[in-house]
Subunit: 401 residues, 2 copies
């Protein structure tokens, strides 16, 4: 999508949009005669929206490309995920409300277990509890490195955040996570010559981390991933001329929303918390990104039935959204996570767009194969969804006379 | 579409193509269970072509983008409408056969009504009759500005054309039309420093226009729009290696056809006039662009029933076209104009392509939702239609060996 073109066409309107993202929605049948998770789920409310709306499947990155959650969300927000790339450290920092300033280098850290030879034997240190994480972060905060300020923040379980602040830092570093057990952590390798000094500083941090954690088995070492600096990207609200808010229980999704400049609304862990947050803030925004995480987790766990049940649970919030009288509602996933694959996949993601002016198609059931016949087509580039939402919300002027 | 590639592939053939454009064809149902205008219309001849041909919907500019008539026609002619942009003054001039030369600056003028404070109270001066327009243009022709030759030509009702000829002129000027009543006309603002002198000359013209029209209430002032210079674009006939003619009753459509270098055939105001023009000139051209305007006007007036009737009327010319034994016929609109919206819209436009070699699909009815299942897909980029017509007319060579 062409941000410059869109910017010349935006116009104000008194309309409201909801982008409801059921994380990892797309699935697969166990065999060709079976149902996908979404097809199996009883979703009378989504089916109703499908009947009155237009359906299709969207493709976040490109044909055959399995998306990570960051890029697929950027695509949903209208950002070309190939052009707009950033390491995971930045959204991780923003997701826990760390106030990143320009040139800060952020990275995600894992507490892990290493054996006496220094080889990784558990990349997640047995998923230590949050309380242990807090205690270990306190230890890491004692580490000092010359000429650079270090911030260590807890995230969850085995995950923490490292931010380095100082002069001439670079985020162009490779991960130190060897990805497999039985291997030593990798040295922090600079990907450009400007990153050599930062690599040296990270190396010092890791060495000292190994020292201060030596007695904390199973969490006796750290692995660092997603080194990155906050990019200077177009702001979502400016590009589309809307006031936008994110409702997401998980830090990573709050982070990617903050990265594009959305307001982050305080919410709780449950679907009930999230829908209540939407209702409370309804009058204050034009656009709501509403994220439901657990469907993806069920897919990643390979739990077909739990994924079906969670999709059915998500279906129950639709009447509460519709009661708010939105002008445009999109329901989709950020990517597919088929439970038979226990992982993200490249399969296009079912999507429905409902509005008064959408010109409904013949699809009357929200499911992967039903959506193939829809007006959005079987392979809509995901970045095209935002301009379509904007048009349906009467927020784009005519191009040319 | 890649003009350079197409140019390397064109080959001569003794085949004829008709591009029949029903302006504003695409529509909307009043509610999800109803029909669109085209679905409601009884169109046995179009349905026949749909049955033997291939169908789909095309998207003139991009997802969610509502096209103006100029850009959407350029897309139908194969020109990327983002790349090929021109102000409306140029097609307006070409549409009334004004012989624009290089560097001429053309603009559309409205006669308008201003009050004693100079504020616009009617942007169209009560839609004065054509005869009054002629009289006022005569007055405007008396205006002289140093170092520049001025041409004023009547168009219709409240509309006229201004062309400035001289050295170092620029079309980079903003409109003086404030778009709303209760405001004074805007000064002609230069958009680049090269346009400063032209802005000053236009300012003088407008001041003098106010003087000579002072006693002509309600048409006592002018608003200027669409300043532009004739661009140096590829010529349609050269690009596609065909002799092409336009049959269009309305000046604007003749203008955009002339802009790409088509011959403009003399015709009358009625559909009967237009089809007779086609029949008379059949032997002299390879490609005919045939434009029917009134369907769009019915949509803009919000008149569902009239739009239906006019589509049915257009259907009746199909047998006369087919009797000429064309090799390729495309029937489509330049954009959608749903009568429920009384305006152009972003919705993809139904299209059918008929030829002996098209490999017909399963669609047997020409309508928005029936076309979703067609071989052209639900979102064909409009610029792709020309190469498809060319291929079906056996006018493109193989690419590579």
């Amino acid at each position: 999508m062409d941000f410059e073109l869109i910017r010349t066409l935006i116009k104000p309107a008194d309309t409201k949009m909801v982008l409801l993202v059921l994380d990892g929605l797309g699935g697969l049948p166990a065999n060709p005669k079976d149902f996908t998770e979404l097809e199996k789920a009883e979703t009378p409310n989504l089916d109703n929206l499908a009947r009155e709306g237009i359906c299709g499947l969207h493709q976040p990155i490109g044909p055959g490309i399995t998306p990570g959650s960051g890029p697929s969300h950027l695509a949903l927000f209208g950002y070309d995920p190939i052009q707009y790339q950033v390491g995971r450290g930045v959204p991780a920092a923003l997701g826990i409300k760390f106030d990143l300033v320009k040139n800060d280098v952020a990275a995600r850290g894992n507490f892990c277990t290493v054996d006496k030879q220094g080889k990784v034997i558990d990349r997640r240190a047995g998923r230590i509890p949050n309380e242990k994480n807090l205690e270990l972060c306190k230890k890491l905060r004692k580490i000092k490195i010359p000429d650079v300020e270090l911030f260590v923040d807890t995230v969850k379980e085995y995950r923490f955040l490292l931010v380095m602040r100082g002069e001439n830092l670079s985020g162009q570093l490779a991960d130190t996570d060897p990805q497999n057990t039985g291997l030593k952590p990798l040295p922090p390798k600079p990907l450009t010559s400007e990153a050599e000094r930062t690599a040296e500083l990270v190396k010092q941090f890791i060495e000292k981390a190994g020292e201060v954690l030596a007695e904390d088995h199973p969490a006796n070492m750290v692995l660092m991933r997603g080194f990155s600096q906050k990019p200077d990207w177009p702001v979502f609200s400016d590009t589309f001329g809307i006031k936008a808010a994110a409702i997401a229980a998980y830090p990573m999704y709050r982070g990617v929303s903050r990265l594009v400049g959305m307001d982050i609304l305080e919410t709780g862990e449950t679907l009930e918390d999230e829908i209540t947050t939407l209702e409370k803030n309804w009058n204050d925004y034009d656009f709501f990104y509403f994220h439901i995480k657990k469907i993806d987790s069920a897919g990643e766990d390979g739990d077909y039935n739990r994924k079906v049940t969670l999709i059915e649970e998500a279906d129950t919030v639709i009447p509460r959204i519709m009661k708010l009288n939105p002008d445009v509602v999109v329901v989709t996933g950020d990517h597919s996570t088929p439970s038979v694959m226990k992982n993200h996949s490249w399969h296009p993601v079912p999507v429905l767009l409902w509005s008064k002016y959408c010109r409904n198609d013949m699809v009357n059931r929200f499911g992967e194969r039903a959506c193939l016949a829809g007006a959005l087509g079987p392979r809509l580039p995901t970045v095209d969804l935002m301009p379509l939402m904007m048009a349906n919300a009467d927020r784009l002027k005519k191009f040319g006379a």
